[in-house]
Structures are given as C-alpha cells and as structure tokens.
C-alpha cells in the first residue's frame, strides 16, 4: 500500500499571511508536483446538458495543454461547491474553473483557494461587482449578457414596440436570476412591454409549457414574443403555442444547444443565444498557462455570444449537445 501522497502543494507553501495568487510570484508554484497540472471544473450541475457539454470540452482540450482535469458538481447547492473547493485545496490542485450556482456564496472559499495558491477562474459566470480581486480571471459570457442580447434583439426586431412574456428558469438559480435581470434591466424605459413573467420550479420543459399555456389563456393574442431562459424550455413554449395555433410568435431561447438549433432551423424558434463552450474552455486554459508561466494575461476574456437565427445558423458549427 502507498503512504499518503506528498502533502498538498498549497498546504505546504501557503503561509497564512500570503496574499492573492495569480501573480508572478507564484509562477513556479503549481508545476512542482511531478509536473502534473491539475485543473478542476466545478459546475452547477452535470444534469444540465450545457454543463455536461462544457465538461466534455475540458476533457477534449486538457491534453493539448498538458492538464489533468477533474469535474465537481454542485448539484445546484452552493455548499457542495464550497466543499469541492476544499477538496481541491486538499488535493493540491493548480487551478479551478468554476461556474457556481451562487457566485456571491463562493467568495469566502475563493479567498482560501487563493491563500493556498490556487488559480481561480470564473467560467461562464462573473463574481458580483466589487469582488473581482478574489478571482484571477473570468472567461466566457455572463448570463446577464444573454438577457441583454435578448432584449436588444427584440428592440431591433420590433422597433415599434412589442409585448413579451418571460418564462424563467429554475427559481433562485444564478442563470435564471441573471438572464432575468439582464433582460429586465435592458427593457426598462423602452417600448418593450413585459406582459408577465414567471419562473419554473425546476429546469423542466413541462413547467415552461404549463406557464406558457396559462400565459396564452391570460393574454391570448396580445403575446407577440416569448423570452424563455433556455432552449429546452422554449420547446415547451413552442409546443404550447403550436397547440394554441399561435405560429407567429417570436420565440427567444438561450443556450444554443442542438435543440435550439433544430428549432431555429425548423423556424419555430426565432433566436437562440448560444455560448461557445469550446472557445471558453480554450480561453480559460490559455489564461491558466499564462499565469503559471508568469506571462501577462487578460483578466476578463469575453466570449462572443452566438446569435443564432435562421439567417446565421449556418455560420456556426452544429452544436454537439
């Protein structure tokens, strides 16, 4: 039997007082352990297809960068994320890429991780304003932007104003909250009227469908557009509209997954706002490499959102998830 492996890198080398990882001083640090660079991907939930796909991207690019990658799942419970970061510290990980259920809840853990010399990267999500110092970088698109894009598209598409309903994701989840806030903040003082807005109990298309059906009863033909927080939920909305014989409603979904693409191609969904996880992952890996080498890096790397409509759908590779 083996004796326990060497004590975690962070544990040994991080005296309590040390401040802030990710600077030049730490450059040599992670590589010391038989050259293995361990990167953790901490995600809200692997039951969520987008996150499961993002994880495949981590695995795909890990070899190119010489990383070993592991995934941790929060299962939509921030406590699990905190526990995962603890494990990463114990195991001496080099870097963490995290897409947390609740970013603000992670700040204390980020402090610890940095104390232990671990590179902390936000992935597809940003920390609350004013807390930027607790993470080393952020890659991807924030869900808030998805909401903004949805609102902007509506403004372009309906310059004379439009009546829209919003079908939210699971109540209380960061994606739902940000996609909502981005949208609501942007349409303020515009000629877009938000007729009604409701969240789901879970990320379940039947929930979205039920809400949409009730919207149809309540508002009927007034509804000109639907903003649904995720493409699979949009499927439910589309089914509800189909059943009600309302074919000309402008449906917006977020995710850019294959379901969304299909619907855009079929013409039932007008717009899917996609995120390129492969790009995001590469950006994150680039940043980690740069930080390890002590090179300059961009603290925030925005990944462009894919605006997938019938006209642009062929510009993007068909998503693998």
């Amino acid at each position: 039997t083996s004796t326990p492996a060497e004590a975690p890198a962070g544990d040994k080398q991080a005296p309590a007082g040390e401040e802030q990882g990710g600077t030049d001083a730490d450059a040599d640090k992670p590589a010391d352990k038989d050259g293995e660079v361990k990167v953790a991907f901490i995600t809200q939930s692997l039951s969520n297809a987008s996150q499961a796909y993002a994880w495949t991207q981590f695995q795909k690019y890990a070899d190119d960068y010489g990383f070993t990658v592991t995934v941790f799942e929060e299962d939509y419970d921030a406590q699990n994320g905190v526990a995962a970061i603890g494990t990463c510290i114990a195991q001496g990980y080099t870097a963490i890429c995290i897409n947390p259920t609740d970013p603000s809840a992670m700040i204390p853990s980020f402090m610890e991780a940095q104390e232990a010399g671990i590179i902390v990267g936000m992935y597809s999500s940003e920390v609350p304003e004013g807390n930027e110092k607790y993470r080393d970088f952020m890659c991807g698109t924030d869900d808030y932007m998805a909401g903004e894009v949805a609102a902007q598209t509506l403004m372009e598409e309906f310059p004379d104003g439009v009546k829209v309903v919003q079908v939210g994701g699971q109540s209380g989840h960061s994606a739902q909250i940000k996609r909502n806030d981005g949208f609501v903040d942007t349409i303020k003082d515009t000629n877009i009227t938000l007729l009604d807005s409701k969240d789901c109990g879970a990320w379940a298309s039947e929930d979205a469908m039920a809400i949409m059906e009730d919207f149809i009863v309540a508002y009927g033909d007034e509804i000109q557009a639907v903003y649904c927080h995720w493409d699979v939920g949009a499927t439910g909305c589309i089914e509800a509209l189909k059943n009600a014989g309302m074919d000309d409603v402008y449906v917006i979904g977020v995710d850019g997954c294959s379901v969304g693409y299909d619907q855009v191609i079929e013409g039932t969904q007008a717009l899917s706002i996609g995120q390129s996880f492969s790009q995001m992952t590469q950006d994150a890996f680039d940043n980690i490499t740069k930080i390890m080498k002590g090179e300059d890096f961009d603290e925030v790397v925005w990944t462009k959102l894919d605006i997938v409509t019938k006209d642009t759908v062929n510009d993007f590779p068909y998503p693998e998830w």
Binding site: S47, A49, A202, M209, V217, G236, N243
Partner: protein, 322 residues
C-alpha cells in the same frame, strides 16, 4: 330533527372538503378573472394535468397499501429517457411499451428490495425508495449524459407520441381518453378484484391480513409494480407532451403526487382511500396552480400556497378522524 340535518350537512361537508375546495376555487377565480372559465382555459387545464394523474394514481395504491414511494422521480426520469431513445431502434410502439415495461420492472425491483430486507413501516420504506430514486436517476444521467432527447429528432415516425401529447378528439385531449380508460380499469381493479382488495387489507392491518391467509409481501410488490407502471405511463405522457426527455424530468412529482393523494382524502395510515378521490385531489392541485397563474400570483407565493394546502389538508384529515 333540524339539528340532525345540519349535523349531517357539516359531516358531509367535512368529508368532501376537496369538492368544496374545488368549487370555491372555481367560483372565486371566475369572479376575479372571467377568462378562467373560458373554453380555452378548460382545454388548457386538461392539457396541463399530465403526467401527474398517472403518478398520483400509482401513488394512491402505494398509500392505500400503507406505504409510500419516493422513487417515482427516478422511475419517471429513466422511463422517459428510455422511451424517447428507443423510438429509433424499436419504433414508437416498441418504445412506448418498453418505457412502461421498464417502469414496471423498476417498481417490481423496489418491492422486491423492500420485501427482501423486510422494510415494513412507512419510514423505512421512505428512505429506501429515496435511495432507489437516486440510483434510477443516476442511470438515466449515465445513459443520456444529461443531454435532452428530442423525439422530433427520430428518424422513425412518432405520431403516437404527438397524438398523445397534443392530439384531441373534439375538445378532449387523446391522453385524457387514454387515461380515463386506465382510470376505469384501475378503479375496477381496486374495487372488484381480489388483488385490489388484498392491497387495502394490507394497508388496513398487515397482521390481520397475514393471519387470514393473504400474502402481504406479494401485495407489497404489487403496489410498487403498479406505481412503477404508472410512472412509466406518466413518463410516456410527459415525453409526448413536451416532446423532449431529460434525465431529471421526474423531479418534484413525488411530493406533488403525495399532495394529490392526501388532498384527495386517502389516509396516509393506509387501508382506505379512493382512486376517484385522488383525481379530485389532482384537479384541485392543478386548478390551484392554474388559478394562481391566471391571477398573476408569483411563483414564490405558489410554493407557499402548495405547502399551506398540504399542511392544512393533512391537519383537517387528521381532525376528521379524531
């Protein structure tokens, strides 16, 4: 004499609280929001029901038998995923049948595990089925990698699914007709057959049933199998309705189904209950959601209301027996 009539009235009122609740709900909502009683909304409600009635139907048998089944979450998820993914290899009929069959098998497995380890009280059963649910969900996740399966992607025809999901005969959804047939069958099964009777005997008093020559363990496996089959059917109706399947689609149905059964007046102590009353419970719960949506109540308030209804329903049910 007058006292007698009024006493009888209060008693029947108390015994039919669900009906009273439903009527009150309809009247109040109709006054505030006239759209509620429009035909569009009626169709709407008839569509929104699914798959809850199936799940609640299965759960009724488990609860009448004196147990509880939290594994419906996993069973719905796995059955749904399997049914959706088998359309291509097996064709739609095969897919539907295998979804239902798989549900039955999982249910039987639950019953088998429970009788083998001798879990005979509700609390033991509660946690073991909870664990089984995790197992089924995990398998569904492993099969799909959490991806959403769309039946529209299948190369084989899937018109039965479409018919179940959104087809109507006149105003009545196809799935409702299918369900009513099943409901009648299950009602007759419960009322008329020996197997049905032995379920409620088991729920009423396991020891007495055992001493009178009933095979309690077999009845136990039976109720779980029924719950499994109903979860399978529910999963198929769910997949048809939303045209997608995911490995987590069963979440929340366990509490909702228990809510419907209890609100319908089937006692958690087991032994007595009614399949039809459960349907009233389903109706009340779904109408409540629908009303709150139409009245513009926030999602949050709806959660509060559901919890309050559950607590009050159980409390009243309990008082009725005191």
């Amino acid at each position: 004499m007058k006292r007698d009539i009024s006493a009888r009235f209060t008693r029947s009122l108390r015994n039919n609280l669900v009906l009273v609740g439903i009527i009150a709900l309809i009247v109040v909502t109709a006054i505030i929001e006239p759209k509620f009683i429009s035909s569009a909304n009626l169709t709407n409600v008839m569509r929104q029901l699914w798959p809850l009635p199936f799940i609640a139907l299965g759960m009724t048998f488990v609860i009448i038998g004196g147990f509880i089944d939290l594994s419906v979450v996993g069973m719905i998820s796995l059955s749904g995923v399997v049914a959706a993914s088998l359309i291509n290899p097996l064709g739609q009929v095969g897919a539907i049948l295998s979804g239902i069959l798989l549900g039955g098998m999982m249910g039987y497995l639950n019953g088998f595990v429970l009788t083998t380890v001798g879990a005979m009280i509700q609390a033991e059963v509660l946690f073991i089925t909870f664990g089984m649910s995790s197992i089924y969900t995990a398998i569904a996740l492993l099969l799909t990698n959490a991806e959403t399966l769309r039946i529209a992607r299948s190369t084989k025809p899937y018109n039965i699914f479409t018919a179940l999901g959104s087809g109507t005969v006149g105003m009545i959804p196809v799935v409702l007709i299918v369900f009513l047939v099943i409901l009648v069958i299950m009602h007759l099964f419960y009322k008329k057959t020996l197997a049905g009777r032995s379920i409620s005997l088991m729920g009423g008093n396991k020891e007495a049933a055992f001493l009178t020559g009933y095979n309690v363990k077999r009845s136990m496996r039976l109720v779980y199998t029924i719950s499994g089959i109903m979860s399978g059917m529910g999963a198929v109706s769910l997949v048809s309705r939303v045209t997608t399947a995911t490995a987590t689609s069963g979440i929340g149905y366990e509490t909702n189904a228990i809510l419907c059964v209890v609100v319908g007046g089937t006692s958690l102590k087991g032994g007595k209950g009614s399949v039809i009353r459960t349907m009233l419970g389903v109706l009340l719960v779904v109408l409540l959601g629908n009303c709150m949506n139409l009245l513009g109540l926030s999602t949050f308030m709806q959660t509060v209301m559901r919890g309050a209804v559950l607590v009050i329903a159980i409390w009243l049910d309990n008082r009725r027996e005191l």
